[in-house]
């Protein structure tokens, strides 16, 4: 009796398992290649063939079809629709489609004009003049003018402004404005309805990147009557009907999806696709929806396993890994007496086989770097590439040389939430144990760990560091003046040479002059090892083959959404 039941049960389980694991019937075996070849593709060039060849102006390509509905996956529900107050990377993704900024990034991470048709920088690098497009309109038909730009910048610099995006730039007149002496920031001038001029107190190279990354222009005529302190409760935070981007808000069904329709008046050209639906789904469900054809593209739906990726290869989709925007690091408390010797920090880096970790935990879908700048950046220094290789003998020798106390027990803290990171902790512990360091593991949730970091209580910890800006500047994480509470140098790294190079890089606006400075700085960082850069996970983007021109790159895939079209 019992054994019979067991058989029934076993059969059932096998049925369920097969149903979830099998490729659809009739798929040619040749198409279900494992992902090995894809992993070798470099992020900046990770462009699927289908979209590469279709990279032409929609007007010149007669086969571009109009209309249709595209379904995209985002993994978290949006929090608020006013970009200045969003927390999640996913709301940001939507915000960038709803609102435009003065500048934006091109597919190769270089700056390009957006709302500003062009811009001039004065020779001394302090006066920036932006010339706005004359054909830009809000979704309610009002023109977008220099007044809107000036109002938005003033709003973000107001003393009552409490958004999550900060405009930290040395603009002339901020102090007087915040102290209430002036009604607006004197360094922000509207020259005419199409021109706005911003004056800085000192040259600041990343300023343009800040303009391109942080400052979504908001509609003055809709929002100006609300007090700045109350702006987060403005109705635009729930129903952003007056946007400026390529798509217009239709509705948000709580926790399920956000619906948009194309903006016929978008100044770069009306999108070809009629309706855009952003579904809030996790990777597992996204996979099922792809298989059913309920999804056309996904960005950032969380880490996918190699099984899932392999399964996707059998569907009519392109799997495109691109460099993500966050690097995972092993932070070292440089202020601890026993970590002050750089040989100890180098030893930690040499002790860890990062390549093996990437293969084991991320199926190879990650990049490595030794200093602050990822390989796809034009500022990357190739000399740092082979530094800090895996070499346990060298690590042990360095520790002995530095007089490391092999009886000392140190603690490695890691936050819960990111599964890959959690799994990496015991691996790192083993690598460090193997060279003779005694390491204990401790974990807590991220918020709790954050608090202990701020109190400087930790030895080693794992944390993600995000690149909000593609600029090579690292002042906020490596400069001596940026130690908490003044910045995010929570590893308490202090090095006069690094400080000097950081400041020099900030003051030079000319990219050609900046390049050698950052080459040098990367060498200093790779030599000093203030933190160990562990891995730079690639985001697996999936694009259905029927969706054309959608082209995931490190800056996202939404940059040319108006050129997408559906070919069925």
């Amino acid at each position: 009796m019992k054994s019979q039941l067991y058989k029934v049960f076993a059969t059932l389980m096998v049925v369920v398992f097969l149903a979830t694991a099998c490729a659809p019937a009739g798929t040619p075996a040749a198409e279900s290649q494992p992902a090995a070849t894809l992993a070798a593709v470099l992020p900046a060039t990770a462009v699927p063939e289908a979209t590469k060849s279709a990279d032409v102006q929609p007007t010149e390509a007669p086969e571009v079809k109009q209309g249709g509905t595209v379904n995209l996956a985002i993994s978290n529900a949006p929090d608020t629709f006013i970009p200045q107050y969003t927390l999640g990377a996913y709301s940001r993704f939507l915000d960038s489609l709803l609102f435009v900024r003065l500048l934006r990034y091109n597919e190769d991470t270089s700056l390009m004009p957006w709302l500003a048709e062009s811009y001039d920088v004065s020779d001394d690098g302090t006066v920036f003049t932006f010339h706005l497009r004359s054909d830009a309109k809000w979704h309610d038909g009002e023109p977008i003018t220099a007044e809107d730009v000036a109002w938005t910048y003033n709003f973000m610099l107001h003393k009552d402004y409490a958004g999550t995006r900060q405009l930290e730039a040395p603009i002339v007149g901020i102090e007087d404005y915040r102290a209430g002496k002036t009604d607006s920031v004197s360094g922000i001038k509207v020259l005419d309805p199409q021109t706005v001029q911003i004056t800085l107190t000192e040259p600041n190279a990343p300023f343009l990147e800040l303009v391109a990354q942080q400052v979504w222009i908001l509609p003055k005529h809709v929002m100006q009557d609300t007090p700045v302190a109350e702006m987060d409760k403005h109705w635009m935070s729930q129903t952003p009907t007056v946007g400026s981007g390529p798509i217009k808000f239709v509705k948000y069904e709580t926790d399920q999806y956000v619906e948009f329709v194309r903006n016929e008046d978008y100044f770069l050209g009306a999108p070809n696709i009629e309706k855009f639906i952003f579904k809030i789904v996790k990777a597992d469900v996204a996979l099922a929806q792809f298989e059913k054809g309920e999804l056309d593209a996904t960005t950032k739906v969380g880490t996918m396993s190699s099984d899932q990726i392999e399964k996707l290869q059998t569907l009519d989709v392109s799997v495109v890994p691109v460099a993500g925007t966050a690097v995972q690091v092993l932070a070292i408390n440089n202020s601890r007496e026993y970590f002050k010797d750089k040989r100890v920090r180098q030893a930690i880096a040499h002790a860890i086989d990062r390549k093996a970790m990437i293969d084991a935990l991320l199926d190879g879908y990650a990049l490595m770097q030794n200093a602050s700048i990822p390989e796809f950046s034009p500022y990357f220094n190739p000399e740092t590439k082979d530094m800090l290789e895996y070499n346990p003998e060298k690590a042990r020798a360095l520790l002995e040389e530095a007089g490391w106390d092999f009886n000392r027990e140190i603690v490695l803290n890691f936050p819960t939430g990111n599964v890959t990171r959690e799994r990496s902790a015991p691996i790192i512990q083993q690598y460090l144990n193997a060279v003779g360091m005694k390491v204990k593991l401790e974990s807590s949730d991220f918020t709790a760990m954050r608090q202990r970091i701020d109190k400087n209580e930790l030895d080693l910890w794992l944390v993600g560091s995000s690149y909000v800006v593609f600029d090579p500047d690292v002042k906020s994480i490596f400069h001596t003046d940026s130690m908490p509470p003044n910045g995010w140098n929570s590893w308490m790294f202090s090095n006069p040479e690094a400080d000097r190079l950081i400041m020099e890089g900030l003051r030079n606006v000319d990219p050609e002059k900046r390049k050698p400075i950052y080459m040098e700085l990367q060498k200093v960082i790779a030599e000093e090892v203030p933190i160990v850069y562990l891995y730079y996970p690639m985001e697996i983007n999936v694009v259905a083959n029927r969706l054309k021109n959608a082209n995931p790159v490190p800056v996202g895939m939404e940059w040319n959404i108006h050129e997408w079209y559906l070919d069925e």
Partner: protein, 316 residues
């Protein structure tokens, strides 16, 4: 009975107060605060201070509690720290989806569990009992996410009978048929688990009744077995269902996190988990207080219901 009810209701007030104080203190004692989660790491700690000040998080806990209580007593549940939307709205828009999902699952699982429980008790140690017991154990011990994903792949993807997830077809107009289609999978997955639990409860309670003297008497006086079961055993054997309901009613509100996650269902369970991880104090407090209120009320209802079905129970 009336005085008993009034006494119980009056007693609920200090209990709710106590719950609110304890939860407020516990939530506040959770390490970390909402602001450190919100501010971009590149913006510096000054930005965090500004935000903390703006949200009133710099004040001592007793002042914050009194302020919160004052607002709640005036009917204002506050604003979410995460996106500044009113808490009442964030919870309100999820109540109907949650209650629909949980309520349907409860009704269906009871409708199935009652006959199954009785049958398995009567046919104790037969093939039917074994098979049902087997499924009950599978139901209890298989995690919902497994059943849920399995159902999605098998029924929605392979057989293409139902939509994979969500509450309606995105971008479409609302229709009853569309909603029903979207309800079938999540309700079945939840019910699969609950039927299993209830069946076991009902089976053991009916078995207990079957061995009692009055059943032997009923059979002895020549009553048909069908009547013995329906008229006598069922009445007494089903009283545990009342206590099950008493426990389940608060769940109607609090939702089922994993099922909601898998089926992209806008329920309160997901909101709770999100609020915990983002330390959204006002939302959390509101959910805790509403749940606490429901627990008190449904326990009271269960006690009253006991008195109604069992004349031996008298409250004074």
């Amino acid at each position: 009975m009336a005085t008993y009810l009034i006494r119980r209701l009056l007693f609920a007030i200090p209990v709710l107060f106590l719950i609110s104080i304890i939860s407020y203190v516990l939530i506040d004692a959770m390490p970390g605060d909402p602001v450190s989660m919100m501010i971009d790491p590149t913006d510096g700690l000054q930005a965090q201070e500004i935000r903390r000040e703006a949200l009133g998080l710099n004040q001592p806990i007793h002042i914050r509690y009194v302020k919160w209580l004052g607002e709640v007593l005036r009917g204002n549940l506050g604003y979410s720290l995460v996106n500044s939307w009113p808490v009442a709205q964030r919870i309100g828009e999820r109540i109907i989806p949650t209650v629909t999902l949980m309520g349907l699952a409860l009704i269906i699982s009871l409708l199935m569990a009652i006959p199954i429980g009785i049958i398995t008790a009567i046919k104790k140690n037969t093939f039917i009992d074994y098979i049902m017991t087997f499924f009950a154990f599978v139901g209890v011990s298989t995690p919902t996410f497994f059943v849920g994903l399995g159902a999605i792949f098998l029924i929605a993807v392979k057989l293409d009978l139902l939509p994979t997830s969500m509450m309606q077809t995105p971008g479409g107009e609302f229709s009853i048929w569309d909603r029903v289609q979207h309800l079938i999978l999540p309700v079945s997955v939840l019910a699969f688990h609950q039927v299993a639990v209830y069946t076991r409860h009902i089976r053991s309670s009916v078995l207990e009744e079957l061995g009692k003297d009055y059943v032997r008497t009923a059979r002895g006086k020549g009553l048909k077995e069908r009547l013995v079961i329906l008229r006598h055993v069922m009445r007494n054997g089903l009283t545990p269902v009342i206590s099950l309901l008493g426990v389940q009613i608060p769940h109607l509100f609090s939702g089922a996190v994993i099922t909601e996650q898998i089926f992209v269902w806008p329920g309160i369970g997901r909101l709770t988990v999100e609020s915990v991880s983002l330390r959204d104090y006002p939302v959390l407090m509101a959910i805790i207080m509403i749940t606490a209120l429901l627990v008190l009320v449904s326990n009271l209802l269960a006690d009253v219901a006991y008195a109604v079905v069992d004349p031996r129970i008298r409250y004074k």
